[in-house]
């Protein structure tokens, strides 16, 4: 019997952790539902997804999404149709949208950092941030004996 109790406890804890993880990482679904309430939320949530995915490839998609057409317009039209059919739940949808917008605000600098840091060269290989200040751009391939100029800490 005690063994059974422990198992249940572990299972419950695991379920709770999974739930927490879903809540924390599940900004996708949050933003998906928040897209019901507005275009702005939808476009920034797209950025959040990408910064969560991280990396150079993300920044390339970031800039595409920010500048407009592809992903932004698709999801915007989807949200418009959804808001038409689900327009009623006033208070609920407001709180969703405010949460989503605060999330998207925090996500904006994150994606900006990614693109200004290493990711910039993914969208614009020539105009890398690193190259401008005399540092070797991320992703550079050198031959043995060639020097890279990099910042270091103490």
């Amino acid at each position: 019997m005690p063994t059974r109790f422990v198992r249940r406890t572990v299972a419950a804890a695991a379920a709770a952790l999974i739930a927490l993880g879903t809540a924390a990482c599940g900004s996708d679904s949050d933003q998906g539902s928040s897209a019901n309430t507005g275009t702005t939320t939808t476009s920034t949530s797209t950025g959040n997804n990408e910064s969560a995915a991280g990396g150079a490839a993300a920044s390339a998609v970031d800039s595409a999404a920010e500048s407009g057409p592809a992903m932004g317009s698709d999801s915007a039209s989807a949200s418009a149709s959804e808001s038409a059919s689900e327009s009623a739940p006033a208070a609920g949808s407001e709180s969703m949208s405010s949460e989503a917008s605060s999330e998207s605000e925090s996500s904006a600098p994150a994606s900006a950092e990614a693109s200004s840091a290493g990711g910039a060269d993914a969208s614009a290989p020539a105009g890398n941030a690193g190259g401008a200040d005399g540092l070797t751009p991320p992703g550079t391939t050198l031959k043995l004996g060639e020097a890279a100029t990099v910042p270091v800490g103490g």
């Binding site: 991280g54 990396g55 150079a56 990614a114 840091a117 290493g118 990711g119 060269d121 993914a122 941030a129 690193g130 005399g134 540092l135 070797t136 991320p138 992703g139 550079t140 391939t141 050198l142 031959k143 043995l144 004996g145 060639e146 020097a147 890279a148 100029t149 990099v150 910042p151 270091v152 800490g153 103490g154």
Partner: protein, 137 residues
């Protein structure tokens, strides 16, 4: 990692196999029999710095990965010194000063270490959300 303390020029200069005699002298045990070992020598020149420092972590082994093709080589960390693969330290910490570094990597038996990547965490060169600098032979 702080990356605003100094700017350095760093190069990977050579990748050479460790001789059988040297491998034997290292007494690495049976685990090492699965690998062919290689020295990687490096040079660093201090280009600029905000404050005078002699302990810049330029040759930290966590910043570099040996490469066997595109795969990572095995990092060989020696607890004792090895006079054929030593690092030098900044003596004065002044601009223009050069130091050398050396690291040991293992490639699966019959293969070679063909390159080295520089990928310190939390920098644009991070392999996770940036792009490493790579030297190839």
């Amino acid at each position: 990692m702080k990356t605003d303390e100094a700017v350095v020029k760093v190069s990977v200069d050579s990748i050479k196999p460790v001789s059988a005699a040297d491998v034997k002298a290292l007494e690495l045990g049976d685990d090492a029999k699965e690998y062919d070992l290689f020295y990687v020598t490096q040079t660093m020149e201090l280009v600029s710095q905000k404050t005078s420092q002699k302990n810049l972590e330029v040759f930290n082994s966590q910043f570099y990965n040996g490469l066997v093709g595109k795969d990572p080589a095995t990092d060989i960390i020696l607890m004792s010194g090895f006079d054929k693969c030593e690092k030098t330290k900044l003596a004065k910490g002044t601009v223009g000063e050069k130091v050398t570094g050396c690291a040991l990597y293992g490639a699966p038996k019959g293969e070679k270490v063909t390159g080295v990547s520089y990928e310190p965490n939390d920098t644009p060169y991070d392999d996770f959300d940036g792009k490493p600098i790579t030297w190839t032979s």
